[in-house]
Symmetry: C2
Subunit: 174 residues, 2 copies
């Protein structure tokens, strides 16, 4: 019964999703968006840091997945994304969570069975896997997909701080 946090960081909107890994699949706990607003850069980064910290405090996940970025569109957007990502990762680390990174392909592969799935397919599979009746906002849905991917991978990897991981079958359980 492990609570797992997924984070989809962005310079304007950071999505979060919390799922409970019951050992026989994952249940939806919460999801939402942290909107950074129009303040100064320090204020916006503090909003990400405090927002992620508050989600952790409220729901008590012990582990966090975050999307690994290989190619940003350009250096300017990469810098902005990196700043938000840094604020989110520090929030997780300061709250004592183990943190793992996943590529977009790994997330799609874990959720939809193929690394070539599009955003809509991933969103539909997130709804299906978590038995959601309503479509979550896209950033929240992406964060839930990362949380599900992390649930799928975390016991078969040996991430930072997790040394007593038990190996688990290689497929996402529906």
């Amino acid at each position: 019964m492990t609570l797992i946090l997924g984070i989809d960081p962005g310079s304007r909107i950071t999505g979060f999703g919390v799922v409970r890994d019951t050992g026989r699949g994952c249940e939806y706990i919460a999801s939402g968006c942290i909107r950074t607003g129009t303040g100064s850069l320090p204020e916006r980064l503090q909003t990400v840091y405090r927002g992620v910290s508050e989600v952790i405090r409220q729901y008590g996940p012990i582990t966090m997945g975050i999307e690994q970025v290989f190619m940003a569109r350009n250096a300017d957007s990469a810098l902005k994304l990196g700043q938000a990502r840094g604020a989110a990762i520090v929030a997780g680390a300061e709250s004592g969570l183990e943190i793992a990174e996943y590529t977009a392909t790994q997330v799609k592969q874990a959720i939809a069975g193929t690394g070539g799935a599009d955003k809509q397919q991933v969103q539909m599979m997130v709804m299906h896997l978590l038995k959601l009746l309503q479509k979550p906002q896209i950033d929240a849905s992406d964060a839930l997909a990362i949380a599900l991917c992390h649930a799928h991978h975390r016991q078969s990897l040996i991430p930072h701080g997790l040394t007593q991981a038990k190996r688990r079958s290689g497929r996402l359980r529906l």
Copy 2:
């Protein structure tokens, strides 16, 4: 007698410099480097966050200057720099410091009188302005230059949170 922190963030080394603005110029207080080591990304970002927080706790600056990055070499290095920058800015903001950003040109202009000054010229001027007998490590020197630039600008700007700023003459006092 304001204590001013300058931060030069980097994915491997984050330089810091603390100066005291006496009202008749700046005095050297401290400088150094936070080395992020070879751990996982969350560990490295936490090192930046905790390092900057510790410098603030130890020396008690009330305001912080950080270099504004316009053009990174490429998207990958921009992302890495952004993450370190995000961790450093959140550390400053969470410690209650007002934070201002300066372009490299503004820093060179304030220290060496010309935006076209090279790194060595800036380093020599930092040594001269702060009456240093030894050359500081280059990241520490850059951070001291940012602190001096911030000392120079902060009373003539109206940065975030500083509403009762008194205007001051537009030149750096030697």
